[in-house]
């Protein structure tokens, strides 16, 4: 079974003139599963926003605590207030749960537009069954994700786009699905390419003044890009060999950030690091080469520079400088990866205690912490081990 990565992108536009969005989306990734919740609060503005937030929060928290989906739905429906006048619940929702073990998924819709499922770029009519929970109809669809599958959850604000502006009945579910198929023709590398396109179209159909909150979640199942980064010499010199072995056997791409670390690995392999002296710049030390390692760089200076680059380009690989130094290559590798594991050696080079070495490069741990925070925000799955 190919190892898949569930790439998620969620975007929303709010109703014209409102200060808050009445659609709320939350996603969570645990060791075992990925959870996505989209909730649409009745009406718009503050009240809708609060109700939708409440709904997504309850669902996400319960699912993270491994409460069964049926129980969660029952709790939420039981908790949601019902509009006395319109006799409908104050918020609707769609939940998708994906198990990492075998990529089986379950989608539950409560009064929200049915999810769209695409395989090999074509819309697949989903088999939905309806169950009743607390006298409300819940639509459930299940299946197993394959590489390239795309799933779309959306709020009715997208379906109604253009209503009374450019179309009599709005964009509509079938037309939106057709538009997504068009987006998938270009074989998008990430879910954002599709969601961004659909919401831009939504906005255009509303002539820039959305008549309702509109939101979308795109889920793209793609091949998982794994990366392991070894940085810093381990504290325990005796355990070094085992760490090096594990690093060299790790799946996916492998990077070493640290000159001494590179020398340690080279020594264990009975090789020597080859340094490309031409790749050195006044700001960034050069790139090294070692067999079995995809990129070898100096440690602290290069990683600091790479973190700066990520912040400057807002984590968009396309916005990185086109030159080829170690920090830029490192930034590219990191932005391309979905799952990143850091093995951080804590041995301290005494020279770094020297005051002439500027303070921002003195502590590896702080640097890693800041980097992990940024990458988590980008939806990457990051783990760190210290040795």
């Amino acid at each position: 079974m190919t190892e898949l990565f569930v790439d998620i992108s969620d975007l929303a536009v709010k109703k014209y003139g409102e200060s808050l969005c009445g659609d709320q989306i939350k996603t969570a990734r645990t060791e075992d599963k990925t959870i996505i919740v989209l909730s649409d609060g009745l009406g718009s503005g503050v009240k809708a926003s609060i109700l939708a937030t409440l709904t997504t929060e309850i669902i996400i928290r319960m699912l993270k605590a491994d409460v069964g989906l049926a129980d969660v739905v029952e709790t939420v429906i039981g908790t949601l207030p019902v509009c006395k006048r319109r006799k409908i619940a104050y918020s609707t929702f769609a939940v998708m749960e994906i198990l990492h073990r075998d990529y089986t998924y379950k989608i539950v819709n409560f009064d929200s537009p049915p999810a769209m499922f695409f395989r090999q770029g074509r819309l697949i009519p989903a088999e939905r069954r309806t169950t009743r929970i607390r006298e409300r109809d819940i639509s459930v669809s299940e299946g197993q994700l394959e590489q390239g599958d795309f799933v779309c959850l959306l709020s009715d604000g997208v379906l109604h786009a253009g209503l009374g502006v450019k179309m009599n009945f709005g964009w509509g579910w079938d037309n939106v699905a057709e538009h997504v198929e068009l987006c998938l023709k270009d074989e998008p590398k990430c879910a954002w390419e599709v969601t961004h396109n659909v919401l831009a179209e939504t906005h255009a159909l509303y002539a820039g003044r959305p008549g309702d909150d509109a939101s979308i979640v795109g889920v793209l199942a793609r091949k998982q890009n794994r990366l392991t980064i070894l940085t810093g010499p381990p504290l325990d010199r005796a355990g070094e060999g085992a760490i090096v072995e594990r690093f060299l056997e790790s799946k996916g791409r492998r990077i070493i950030c640290g000159g001494t670390t590179g020398n340690i690995v080279a020594e264990h392999m009975g090789e020597e690091v080859q340094v490309d002296i031409r790749s050195m710049t006044p700001d960034v030390p050069p790139i090294g080469q070692l067999s079995g390692v995809d990129l070898l760089t100096e440690g602290i200076i290069t990683m600091s520079k790479m973190l700066e680059l990520l912040q400057e380009c807002d984590c968009d690989a396309a916005a990185l400088p086109s030159e080829r130094d170690a920090a830029i290559l490192l930034a590219h590798e990191i932005l391309t990866a979905d799952t990143i594991h850091f093995i951080v050696g804590q041995s301290i080079n005494e020279y770094y205690q020297n005051p002439e070495f500027s303070k921002h490069i003195s502590i590896r741990k702080n640097l890693i912490r800041e980097l992990v925070f940024l990458l988590n925000q980008q939806g990457k799955h990051v783990t760190v081990e210290y040795c």
Binding site: G258, G259, T260, G262, N263, V273, V275, D276, I277, M280, T281, P282, P285, P286, G288, E298, G299, I300, I301, N349, E350, Y351, Y352, N354, E356, F357, S358, I361
Partner: protein, 91 residues
């Protein structure tokens, strides 16, 4: 054909911080000026050890310490050049 002498220049964290990127072009020019291109192979390295005494260079077993952009010209003429010559002669 004569074997080349390897002149290793550290480009690790400390030595980079101490300005090795300014030393490298000068070193290359000096090697050209003294017509040593066929006798010396300039190589880079990550961390040659004594970071406190950087910039560090290594010629065979001999480490040359405390090189900097300010002294590379004189140190080359006074120490590195004779060391290279004696190693070349030893081959």
């Amino acid at each position: 054909m004569k074997k080349k002498v390897e002149l290793c220049v550290c480009m690790g964290s400390a030595c980079h911080q101490k300005g090795v990127s300014a030393v490298l072009p000068v070193l290359e020019r000096l090697i050209d000026e003294h017509e040593l291109q066929d006798q010396v192979e300039l190589k880079g390295a990550f961390c040659l050890g004594p970071c406190v005494d950087g910039i560090v260079m290594q010629l065979g077993d001999q480490q040359i310490l405390r090189i900097g952009p300010e002294n590379i010209e004189s140190r080359f003429v006074e120490e590195i050049l004779p060391a290279i010559r004696s190693q070349v002669d030893a081959f």
